[in-house]
């Protein structure tokens, strides 16, 4: 139990360090950094390296944004295995739908609940 917390902390931290390096050293904007990490996630899944990382690190690999790219690719590949090339299209959002739907839903609820802050200080 504790050991998975520790590995989640370390692996999650390392992925964020990669993101920080993109931002500070390569001077990427946050949007560019996140897009690069998502692409990285899906490439890793293409080589079948991301699933073992999830087995090893648990939330340390599923919480960072790379897991979004990974689950998209994973869904596409799983479906492509069954139905061939067309499966690549149909399987895309098979595995991951909670991230985006939660973001949209809570975005609207947040816009509804929270007034603008009076002072931004």
């Amino acid at each position: 139990m504790i050991s998975s917390l520790v590995t989640a902390f370390i692996v999650g931290g390392l992925i964020c360090v990669i993101g920080q390096i993109f931002m500070d050293v390569f001077k990427l904007t946050p949007a560019h950094t996140l897009s690069t990490l998502v692409v990285l996630g899906s490439i890793l899944d293409g080589f079948g390296l991301y699933e073992p990382l999830i087995d090893f690190a648990g939330a340390g690999a599923t919480v960072p944004i790379t897991s979004f790219g990974n689950s998209l690719t994973h869904g596409a590949l799983a479906e492509a295995e069954k139905h061939g090339l067309i499966g690549v299209l149909t399987g895309m959002f098979e595995v991951t739908s909670s991230g985006i739907s939660a973001a949209i839903l809570f975005g609207v609820i947040g816009a509804f609940i929270f007034q603008k802050r009076k002072t931004t200080y």
């Binding site: 504790i2 050991s3 998975s4 917390l5 520790v6 590995t7 902390f9 370390i10 699933e51 073992p52 990382l53 087995d55 090893f56 799983a78 098979e94 595995v95």
Partner: protein, 130 residues
């Protein structure tokens, strides 16, 4: 600030080593042939298994750094057990949830009918994809 961070990281690493977990086979009457297979496995440090007429369900504790090839370990052990018990359906998994379910079965000491039902439930659970 720097010293406290280094100490924090050290504590984290200490927590990562795995301790010995008990090895349980339930019901223990026909466990003679399963035990030797499980002894040979070096990458697991404990297991809990449930056996009835046509099902063998083994939940394993995998060493932290061996979890990278968790799927390979599961396949390997499944193949070995199937070779030993050709007529039984075998399910080996390192999933924490299944481990908890197996523990609850062993504690409750279920009898034949409920045992079968809960094993089916677990098998359904582990096949579920999304």
């Amino acid at each position: 600030m720097k010293k406290s961070v280094i100490v924090f990281l050290m504590v984290l690493l200490l927590g990562a080593c795995s301790n010995e977990k008990e090895k349980v086979i339930f019901p223990s009457d026909n466990s003679t042939s399963l035990k030797p297979i499980m002894q040979k496995q070096d990458s697991i440090y404990g297991y809990k298994s449930v056996i009835n007429e046509e099902d063998i369900l083994v939940a394993i504790y995998i060493n932290r750094f061996d979890r990278f090839n968790k799927t390979k370990i599961e396949k390997k052990i499944t193949k070995q057990i199937e070779k030993q018990f050709p007529e039984k359906k075998v399910l080996v998994t390192g999933d924490q949830k299944i481990m908890w379910e197996v523990e609850s079965i062993i504690e409750k000491k279920l009898k034949q009918k409920e045992l079968k039902k809960s094993i089916e439930k677990i098998k359904l659970l582990s096949k579920e994809e999304t």
